[in-house]
Symmetry: C3
Subunit: 307 residues, 3 copies
């Protein structure tokens, strides 16, 4: 795939070849980090425009840019501090910033907002999360983690557990994993199960999909245990949220039933759906994912800037 | 003019020679950008202290500093996060910061505040906007845009349209353009017209000044069409503001009457006083001004730091 | 002392040898600054996580890192913008950030919070102030200022004036100065006097301690006049605070009684406990302390990163 000058807006942009290209580049970046970084993006500037604060994602992009010798202009809280208060359109804001930098990472609470505004930028725009819609670099780092830890993706059974209805993370993961020979196991209460259209799409491209509610049974065959946070902010009421809060908790007891070489992935932040007692379990990869996020974003920044 | 070690506080500091010196340097900076930036300010640090958030202006200074290899310490919202909350004086704050960096850009909502505090800094202070008083780098980039687009400034007819009473932008532009052989055309309703003392001063130095309310007639002779936003935040009441909101709107129809080689300048953000349908009109230069702002600030940073 | 890879959490970590090692390194850093900075930390990244805003301290760390060629990821207001809002634990936040950077400076309003979370970081954590508990780099720069200005610390009479009960600054200074042959003079009203356990500890290691309320008498023998702000935010009520606000004010009149070669130190920000008329008194060193803070932090960053 040709990434140079491209916006990165959605997981739908990636085919298998493109994914493996990013993953191979990310692996090279791990070596670059061990060697103390690089100067390949020296002279280039990334702007991070976060209309919804996220220190983790912002720092990951900014770390990636700095590790490659690039510079960063940062706005951690655009909603509080930008000209949008003077009624400037998001399009004008993005167009303006694009005249001062070489690449822009945008996080915005509204679905599709990043895609719409990217048309007004003359530099590549990377979607750093747009509401419940997409967060493609998170999905890339999730799948990169699987690829790196398990050696390859084909042949694996991948479990996704929790709020599969509202979570953009499992949706995006499906969108990438469908390019591989993967069996899906979805574990969710009926009200929070994976949307039908996603299940149908996976089956239409020949994937095996198992759905159920019983985690302690279904965990046994998983090579990848994908936990997600039940996202309070996506529920309509506190009451509705409390019904499902803590419905699945991964702890040492349940992990006894899991494969010895399974891996646990989680996008973080976690609340209590993954017990801290698992942090020292060698199968827990969620904090390693943070480092994987940096190298995946290094790879992407390099590619979209044409290096 | 000797800029080394100087504070940049007001458009009144610039004479014609000084302006042309900055413009020639800014033009060189366009070449530097094309060549991938410079390291001339390597080891130098700019602090941006914004007591009133402005992503556009802050990013412009920070982009300029980074493009020259310098570094930036950034406070996007001093009012919310500084020791002023502990009753520290602005003078002490600026003096403190001046001990840690090489140059400071300050934006503050109070008129003359930047000038007053600059006495306490032992490094150059650049006024990045102090209330309704001054925003000299904005005026410099406006006039640089005219100089660059039209080849020279002498002989031009420059129009200014909108809230000419409260807008610091048109006031500052007059203060710079008076050094050139320019005819001024001011278009405003009576209640928002250019202050008498500015008109008198322009006439006293031999400038021709035309004033009127009818944009569609007066636009015909303009080489430069200077639109300004009616600034809600400068009005005493919402009611008073609404009287004049949208009083002049530049759109394709009215631009039919303008010269084919006129240029439209606007400081941004715009609300609706310039129709988006004009964004693709080759005469529209307001988004190019953003890039011009970066090179003008590169030129200034270089000069005040003695390079 | 071996600083490489160490967290810097408390003044209690430092012995006399360690202090002098930092001071000698800081002095070298003054030379580095005069020579235009260094690239020794090129490729390294500092994260500043400020759960309580402090522009002075944050800028000091960030200036230090940049002066050595390192890069910075900055969060000036973690409380307002972090995943803690999504109920992420402070431990998870710090562990996450530690996967993306090489060293972390944390400021937090809760005592001992930085120490507790440092266990979850796999990179050095520097305490940039944790409530009323510790602010070790401030104490280091205070004592460095004395060492630098007076040539040595042994043999000096050091005065501390103001709120000696609640102020972490005088407590931390005692913790460092006790390693030297120093006589202490504490000036405070009875309700705000130095805690007994600190006085006892100083005496137990053979220090002479004088306590009193009368500044104009006690100031005469001080080589170092350590003023502190009566910290409003540490009092239980406005009423309680007002009792002691302005109880000691250092001005030209009282400084007539002080030694000609005494020095005035103050951690800043000041409110009115040091009169601005003293700013031009050559004995006033409080603004020089800001610059000393940068070189001390340069020294520390270098040391903990193993350079």
């Amino acid at each position: 795939m040709n990434f140079k000058g491209q916006h990165i807006l959605s997981t739908a942009q990636f085919d298998k070849e493109g994914l493996l290209e990013i993953f191979e580049e990310a692996k090279k970046m791990e070596k670059v980090l061990q060697d103390g970084g690089s100067d390949v993006l020296s002279g280039k500037i990334l702007a991070t425009l976060f209309f919804e604060p996220s220190t983790r994602t912002r720092f990951s992009f900014e770390s990636a840019m700095n590790r490659l010798g690039g510079r960063v202009l940062s706005n951690a809280d655009m909603a509080a501090t930008s000209s949008l208060k003077k009624n400037e359109s998001l399009e004008d804001t993005v167009k303006t910033v694009s005249k001062m930098v070489d690449v822009i990472a945008i996080r915005h609470p509204e679905s599709y907002s990043v895609e719409k505004t990217s048309n007004f930028s003359n530099v590549p725009v990377i979607n750093a999360g747009d509401g419940s819609n997409q967060h493609p670099t998170q999905a890339l780092l999730d799948v990169y983690t699987i690829w790196k830890e398990k050696g390859s993706i084909d042949g694996l059974t991948v479990g996704m557990i929790g709020d599969l209805k509202n979570g953009r993370v499992p949706h995006s993961q499906c969108d990438l994993l469908k390019h591989f020979d993967v069996k899906f196991v979805f574990v969710a209460p009926d009200a929070l199960k994976m949307p039908d259209e996603i299940v149908k799409e996976l089956k239409s491209v020949g994937k095996e999909v198992v759905e159920g509610e019983n985690l302690s049974e279904l965990i046994e065959e998983m090579d990848v245990i994908g936990m997600t946070r039940v996202q309070k902010e996506r529920f309509e009421s506190e009451e509705e949220y409390l019904k499902y809060e803590g419905i699945y908790v991964l702890d040492a007891k349940i992990m006894d039933k899991a494969k010895k070489d399974a891996i646990i992935v989680h996008p973080l932040p976690r609340v209590d759906e993954v017990s801290v007692e698992l942090d020292s379990d060698p199968r827990a990869k969620y904090f390693d994912q943070v480092g994987n996020g940096v190298v995946v974003r290094m790879a992407l920044l390099k590619k979209v800037l044409g290096y």
